[in-house]
């Protein structure tokens, strides 16, 4: 059969250029009465024929999105820009194909407070290196063999026992998937759960990369405030009822970036809300074992009987982050779909990494290491807090995790401080990056886990001194 008349307008290329221009206008990249790039320039940028751009511009003009002025070019119509009401919770944010957090962290600085990573000197490197040699004796063909897509059976068996004993999670090995780091886990979950226009609840503030991942799937983000006392459950219920979100991405234990922990009583109630509103809770839990004082409450997953929680446990962070091992716990049917997504993403995490991790994780050395690590990190935290106190900055002391969430003095903008700091080889994360609304411009995240004690004190003194000059 032949193409029918009128098919031109449904031509994929034509339509995509049309959409692309409209998108950029709606996201505010091109504002009302801005001049659009010339046909030649846009055609080169997006690698399509000029005629295609011409057709798209012409149709945009016909549709009133764009107007032509004095034959000098195409301009954005006021009507084509869409303003959203922030009070209603829906958020449109520009997804620039750049990853702001990793851009910041790429700056090589002397005083590194932007990385929520642990100083490699605090990790059991030497012990692990010796240990690895045993792995090759036990599994001589480990480098010639693929893992199963879901992850090594022995590792999943061992982790399901660990979760049962330590976190009271009723889990079988079949309910665990091994991924290459928590970020991959978030990515796979987003892939199976989200499509364009789906809504996702996210904490405000939250992990910036997670927002990027959700937006890339076309989802809309709805913020849920997190405070030292947890969430406002009435607010959460109202948002669930109104927006029918597909999921709530949360980091409820020693939360990134704030360090806050959601109390046990809220966990139980929230799982009930999740069931009632059929909203999946995605519980990202990388800081559980880094507590100063008593253990945090059980994971949400422990309260869930109906399968509405997916649990991401990326314990490798404080053992061997370079191995990139993470476990995702969830029930059927989510697990089946996650395995398919993992299969297409990379066909399984390398077996070697899983076997190395397994052997250290089940050794008695792990608990010894964790005990020492907690003390070291608490010392780090206290150094940072001493300097903050002297500077008169405000924060809520966290009970665990790797970060302080700090309110800058009035009239001091995080952006101005950041620009100045980078010149002096100090980096941190401006609060804006953690905010689904792109505000929180007088907050910053300071990580105390990466720099050593000397650099920590020195860098904090320099940072607070810099702030006084602004």
């Amino acid at each position: 059969m032949k193409k029918v008349a009128g098919a031109e307008q449904s031509h994929p290329l034509f339509r995509q250029v049309y959409e692309l221009v409209l998108n950029r206008m709606e996201r505010g990249e091109w504002k009302a009465h801005d001049k659009l790039p010339s046909i030649r320039l846009l055609a080169e940028e997006i690698k399509v024929h000029r005629l295609t751009v011409f057709k798209a511009y012409r149709r945009l003009t016909e549709d009133g999105k764009v107007y032509v002025k004095d034959k000098s070019g195409y301009y954005v119509s006021a009507e084509s820009v869409c303003y959203e009401d922030v009070e209603e919770g829906a958020v449109v944010s520009s997804y620039l194909l750049s990853n702001s957090l990793s851009d910041i962290q790429r700056n090589p600085v002397k005083y590194q407070f932007s990385q929520a990573l642990i100083d490699p000197n605090l990790l059991p490197n030497l012990y692990l290196s010796d240990y690895v040699k045993k792995v090759f004796d036990l599994y001589p063909k480990v480098m010639g063999t693929y893992s199963t897509v879901q992850g090594d059976d022995e590792l999943r068996e061992s982790l399901s026992r660990h979760f049962r004993e330590h976190h009271r999670l009723q889990l079988s090995a079949e309910e665990l998937l091994i991924t290459s780091g928590a970020q991959q886990a978030i990515n796979l979950i987003a892939k199976i759960m989200l499509g364009p226009m789906d809504t996702v609840l996210v904490e405000r503030p939250t992990f910036g990369v997670a927002m990027d991942i959700f937006r890339l799937e076309g989802a809309r983000l709805i913020p849920v405030n997190i405070t030292p006392s947890g969430y406002d459950l009435d607010e959460v219920e109202a948002l669930m009822a109104k927006h029918k979100p597909r999921m709530f991405y949360m980091n409820p234990t020693h939360h990134n970036p704030t360090g806050y922990t959601v109390p046990a009583w809220q966990r139980k109630l929230l799982v009930e809300l999740a069931e009632r509103y059929r909203c999946l809770l995605v519980e990202d839990d990388p800081f559980r074992d880094i507590y100063f004082g008593k253990k945090p409450p059980l994971p949400f997953f422990a309260y869930d009987t109906e399968g509405w929680v997916i649990y991401i446990s990326s314990f490798s962070k404080y053992v061997a982050p370079g191995l990139r091992i993470c476990a995702v716990a969830c029930r059927f049917p989510f697990m089946e779909r996650l395995i398919t997504a993992k299969s297409l993403a990379d066909n399984g995490t390398p077996l070697l990494n899983q076997k190395i991790f397994l052997h250290y994780y089940t050794s008695p050395r792990l608990q010894q290491h964790l005990g020492k690590l907690r003390i070291a990190l608490q010392v780090h935290k206290e150094i940072m807090e001493e300097e903050l106190l002297m500077a008169g900055w405000e924060w809520t002391a966290p009970k665990g995790g790797l970060n302080l969430w700090v309110k800058l003095p009035d009239q001091l903008s995080a952006e101005a401080l950041f620009r100045k700091s980078i010149e002096h080889s100090i980096s941190f994360v401006p609060g804006e990056i953690c905010d689904p609304l792109g505000e929180l411009k007088s907050w910053i995240r300071l990580s105390y886990s990466f720099a050593n004690e000397v650099l920590l004190r020195e860098g904090m003194q320099r940072l607070t001194a810099l702030a006084r000059t602004l």
Copy 2:
């Protein structure tokens, strides 16, 4: 600010529903004169307000994509469906969220002819295990350290030298990205290149998982026949002119599943076509070093001066597949976007795996190992061919790779043979899975690389005997 008048039609929600309906019609999910789902049903399915669906349907009606009949509902206009002629190559295929190839390979069988993997006994396991211990002496903190997103600098430097010397590829380390296996590379490329309705040229037959990945991004697949003498370039040019594909996914050297190799003269011409039609060539090249006789022609990438080839080199397959190391070569601006996609996917391949690979790859042992491996695989291939010859099945002897592409005798269906074989613990890949059109029902792919010589002979004798009973 308040919403401005006229913004309704450019509202993202409205437009996305409009697009979604159009997409489903164009893909043939909803065919000409089908009744569309009711406004209520669609609103529930995609979780938007009914009014939004109503507006989208109304606009679709105005645009002639949809018509209203007797007030009973909305129907698909004949004009809005884009019929493609199968003879001309366009294919509409539903993406079922299941991964047929990995399902087949998951069957534990004695005679494993479905895995295009190398028998772990043919890999340098022991030597590598010893070697790994040196890695820890050189990089004692390797497990505590993340790699950069793009991949370890030392590995990329070393690989760019290797590619320059061995394959005459002019490449800098900045033009290489390390991924966790070729499958991840294909996935990342699909993510940055493809959107709904984009067209992709794929060989017929081709790698089934790649088709799954492209379909998951919503792309339409257009088959290009591959024969022992390569492509029909007139056919390729006609398809490029007609469908304006975003890319051509190809495996031109010891092709999977057929083993065919595209000749050098076609490589040069095809790169010119790619430039002319602005169609990216995605060259997947995992079998380059497995040749029996003389070396294959240079990669397409070597002929490309304008940046229209992305080269996927997954050499880890015949060294240490368990490490999952793959290199992707491409030019700016694709590289920049690939790094962003990799950053969101998993934030970088584990450093340990990269360092292990680096040290073996640059050692003189690699070429020795490859020399031995080629001989061993050629012996495997010849055993399989002897049995095929006796059975009177047809195939074209490949000059390299891991597979034979076999035409079954008339009246024997691959599906019937497959069902019977699995009962007798023999597995292979039915041709249908490799076919973008889902046909080729009397072809099968037999991998000779995984089973050892004894099992290979025994399994082939049993398979051909089984076929005679059908």
